[in-house]
């Protein structure tokens, strides 16, 4: 199913049913990064469980402020009663925007595949333009993308091209048949940070996996978070089908390094887009791992290679909201602790502010920067020369807010494995 039919109503009712457990304890309010930074969003409890009673199907929306929710999902994570606060608010935002209309901007910046395809072959010009102030001012006036919002640079090459070439080349054959892993690289890796994908592949192969890279597209998260549910459903189901095809045996799993996109596949698409029963998505959802989650699990089974060389550096680590939404703790911290000499400093701020495309929008940029202030200050206070973080849009925001290089935690593992000398490592990190 991909439309607002009985299935959607059923899931929406399930989410709504969780409201009965709300005891109005305000714990979500204490954790909400947005309502603590701006009066424009009254907080998850006010916008969610308390407003829900005024929301009636087929009646005009009663909402305005719920569009200022960034969808980070922290409220649902901290709720001691299991209320699906963020999910309920996402539904309300969808209804609000469907009735009031979607700005053109929301239809453009939520399509990373379009942007990537346009920007990659023309990278030098595209990157120059994106850093050219008059153009950004124009972009703000015409489109509503804030002139100072962090814009990643197109890498000018695509990860999938590298992967195809590598697959065609000779692969070292293992003694025993390797366990297969299907790699979901996402749009950030494909168009902006192909070196992250190269590192993921090399780390997995170093640990004896056979890595398959299917042809793939966006997961639909940007569409979903802007309230474009119908479009988001099409995109995520197409991706699920593409990934599923390559899962040919019981042991094969899917792994991704874009933590918000793997969360979209695991849970958000099923709950927020009401695709609980889509067979392809369900199949993919149960088999999808975030890269650090997978590596930690391997380590606990004694199957992770730990031939790490020392890295005598310090690094600040920020667990992004969407990584926290996997509800598996902070695997990156345990993994980085395996690298001798590496001094990892855990940041304790909630959110960097960007929330995917939220912080790009002209009316929300200042809020996003105010939300991120805590993190930026903590990073500065830590004295670390770099920040590790599992989500690409968060890394771009952290770089924007701190001016420090921000990389995926696996970069350190890749270096400590000594893979940087002969393999990937060619990056334009920063």
């Amino acid at each position: 199913m991909s439309g607002p039919d009985d299935g959607e109503l059923f899931v929406a009712e399930l989410l709504r049913g969780s409201l009965d457990h709300c005891v109005k304890c305000t714990i979500c309010e204490t954790a909400c990064p947005v309502s603590n930074a701006t009066p424009l969003f009254p907080g998850p409890k006010y916008a969610g469980p308390q407003s829900e009673r005024y929301r009636v199907a087929d009646e005009p929306t009663v909402d305005a402020s719920v569009d200022y929710c960034s969808g980070c999902g922290i409220c649902s994570q901290v709720c001691p009663q299991g209320v699906k606060i963020a999910e309920i608010n996402a539904q309300a935002r969808h209804k609000l925007k469907r009735q009031k209309g979607f700005p053109l901007r929301d239809r453009v910046i939520t399509r990373p595949t379009w942007l990537g395809r346009a920007g990659t072959p023309t990278a030098p010009i595209a990157n120059f333009t994106l850093r050219f102030k008059p153009f950004r001012i124009l972009g703000e006036k015409v489109l509503g993308v804030h002139r100072d919002a962090p814009a990643p640079a197109f890498a000018g090459r695509r990860f999938s091209k590298w992967a195809r070439k590598r697959a065609a080349g000779a692969r070292v054959s293992a003694d025993s048949p390797a366990r297969k892993v299907v790699y979901f690289h996402g749009c950030g890796t494909e168009y902006y940070e192909p070196w992250e994908g190269e590192k993921v592949v090399e780390i997995l192969e170093h640990n004896g996996f056979e890595v398959v890279v299917p042809k793939q597209d966006c997961c639909g998260l940007p569409l979903q978070s802007s309230g474009l549910f119908e479009e988001g459903r099409k995109v995520v189901i197409r991706l699920a089908k593409a990934l599923r095809q390559h899962v040919t045996d019981e042991d094969t799993i899917i792994v991704g390094n874009a933590t918000s996109c793997t969360l979209m596949l695991k849970r958000e698409a099923r709950e927020i887009l009401s695709l609980q029963d889509d067979p392809d998505l369900k199949f993919v959802s149960e088999r999808t791992y975030d890269i650090c989650e997978l590596l930690l699990e391997l380590h606990h089974r004694g199957e992770l290679k730990t031939d790490f060389s020392p890295i005598n550096e310090s690094v600040a680590y920020h667990a992004p909201c969407q990584q926290q939404g996997h509800w598996v703790g902070k695997p990156a911290l345990d993994l980085l602790a395996l690298v001798p000499g590496l001094d990892v400093r855990e940041m304790n701020a909630r959110c960097c502010g960007i929330a995917g495309t939220y912080g790009l929008k002209v009316e929300k940029y200042d809020i996003a920067m105010a939300v991120g202030r805590d993190l930026f200050d903590q990073v500065a206070a830590s004295g670390a020369p770099a920040v590790a973080c599992d989500s690409e849009t968060c890394r771009w925001q952290i770089h924007h807010g701190t001016q420090l290089p921000s990389v995926h935690p696996i970069d350190y593992l890749h270096r400590a494995y000594g893979l940087a000398q002969n393999g990937a490592g060619r990056n334009g990190s920063g």
Binding site: E29, D251, S285, G302
Partner: protein
């Protein structure tokens, strides 16, 4: 498909005071610990004072002798399993870790020898053994003249109600309301605490307030003296107002409770313990009288945690960990452990008057004298899941949570051999 599994020396279920204390103590002892919680626990809702024993049933002036009497009279009470020495040790340990936490200079004061009487939001005097420094000046014996201060934006705090009841307790009290500029019509103590963290805003608040104050008058404020550096905020506000100032606990969200959570959470992390929020335990594996693993709903699939020891610190009826279902059957919902204290078939479960002692109130997981669950020898129980207490009548909730979390870690820790596999 392989099951997703992680291995630890001990897994703690619940991230309230009992769970965080148990996790921290185990981690400090060298164990690889993981604390699992459905969400943030009770800390954010409670005043954050450590109330050991306030009423037995009359108001208790000194917890230690009253504890001894309670232990003698009620062998089924958690304190009887713990003993006064463990309670004392746990309190001392707690008082020592607070200043090593993330809030510079912030300390708790008090002991088992003396209960401090502190005003509540309605102006009643509540007995606590340990209190944060921001509340210490509210101790009734130190209050002669006091001005209770509210602000119109904080709609759930009524300074005149608080002052009127303090008057009835023999303290000269009056109320004022300071209308400070805020960018919203209403704001809870959390929003105000963030303002108090800002030095400029604080200065403005103090200058407006000082216009209304009289000589020789202490100031009682709803608990909102900052989240980042309450020690400094208190000192600064006292300096600016030129008098003693104290915080009064409020309705949730509890700012001092958020500080307590941060102190305990960072103690756990500093000791190497892990904390996973959103991780509701939905099932467990058993081998005979042992629980071998618990599983949580993670995104996409379940994640299983294996350990030789488990600490159940999931709370009681209030958190939903113990429930009375519509068929009048009582369950421990997390691990399905046997309960104690459930009124027998045909006996009354409740009494007519809300504030009376309710027969259901003492229900908890059946444990032995080492806090081991009946029927699950490697599961230790801590906090509100323990049977035999009525914390809201006794004023004993935090004392039981702290001491039983501490004791559970002692019992398990003595037998945990840190594994080499998970460094």
């Amino acid at each position: 498909m392989r099951r997703s599994e992680l291995h630890f020396d001990a897994v703690v279920i619940g991230a309230g005071t009992a769970g965080l204390v148990a996790g921290t103590r185990l981690a400090q002892g060298g164990a690889q610990v993981c604390v699992l919680a459905k969400g943030v626990g009770s800390t954010h809702l409670a005043p954050a004072t450590i109330d050991v024993l306030g009423y037995a049933p009359d108001r208790v002036p000194a917890p230690r002798p009253a504890l001894e009497q309670l232990i003698a009279a009620r062998p089924d009470h958690p304190y009887a399993l713990l003993g006064t020495d463990v309670v004392g040790e746990a309190l001392s340990w707690f008082a020592e870790i607070v200043p090593r936490g993330p809030l510079p200079g912030y300390v708790y004061g008090g002991s088992l020898e003396h209960n401090q009487l502190l005003p509540t939001a309605v102006g009643a005097l509540r007995p606590s053994a340990l209190v944060p420094e921001t509340m210490a000046n509210g101790e009734a014996s130190r209050l002669e003249r006091v001005c209770i201060v509210g602000t119109p934006a904080l709609r759930d705090f009524h300074p005149s109600l608080c002052a009127a009841n303090l008057e009835r307790a023999g303290i000269e009290a009056r109320a004022v309301s300071v209308d400070v500029k805020l960018d919203r019509a209403d704001m809870n103590t959390l929003g105000l605490a963030r303002r108090f963290d800002d030095e400029k805003w604080r200065r403005q608040f103090c200058s407006e307030l000082s216009l209304t104050l009289r000589a020789e008058e202490a100031v009682g404020l709803p608990a909102m003296l900052g989240l980042r550096d309450p020690h400094e905020v208190l000192a600064d506000v006292e300096h600016r107002l030129g008098r003693r100032v104290f915080e009064i606990p409020t309705l949730p969200p509890s700012v001092p409770g958020m500080r307590l959570y941060e102190i305990l959470r960072s103690a756990l992390r500093a000791a190497g313990g892990r904390l996973v929020l959103g991780a509701e335990v939905v099932s467990c594996d058993r081998e005979g009288d042992r629980v071998t693993a618990v599983s949580t709903h993670a995104a996409g699939r379940d994640l299983t945690y294996l350990a030789p020891w488990f600490v159940l610190a999931s709370g009681g009826f209030a958190s939903g960990a113990i429930e009375l279902d519509s068929h009048w059957v009582t369950h421990e919902r997390v691990l399905g452990l046997p309960l104690r204290g459930v009124p027998a078939e045909g006996e009354p479960r409740f009494t007519g008057s809300y504030f009376d002692e309710q027969p259901m109130a003492r229900v908890g997981v059946a444990v032995d004298s080492d806090l081991r669950s009946e029927g699950a020898e490697n599961v230790l129980v801590a906090g509100a899941a323990l049977p035999g207490a009525i914390p809201w009548r006794e004023g004993s909730g935090e004392g039981i949570a702290l001491a039983s979390g501490y004791r559970a870690a002692q019992v398990a820790g003595a037998q945990v051999t840190p594994t080499a596999a998970t460094v």
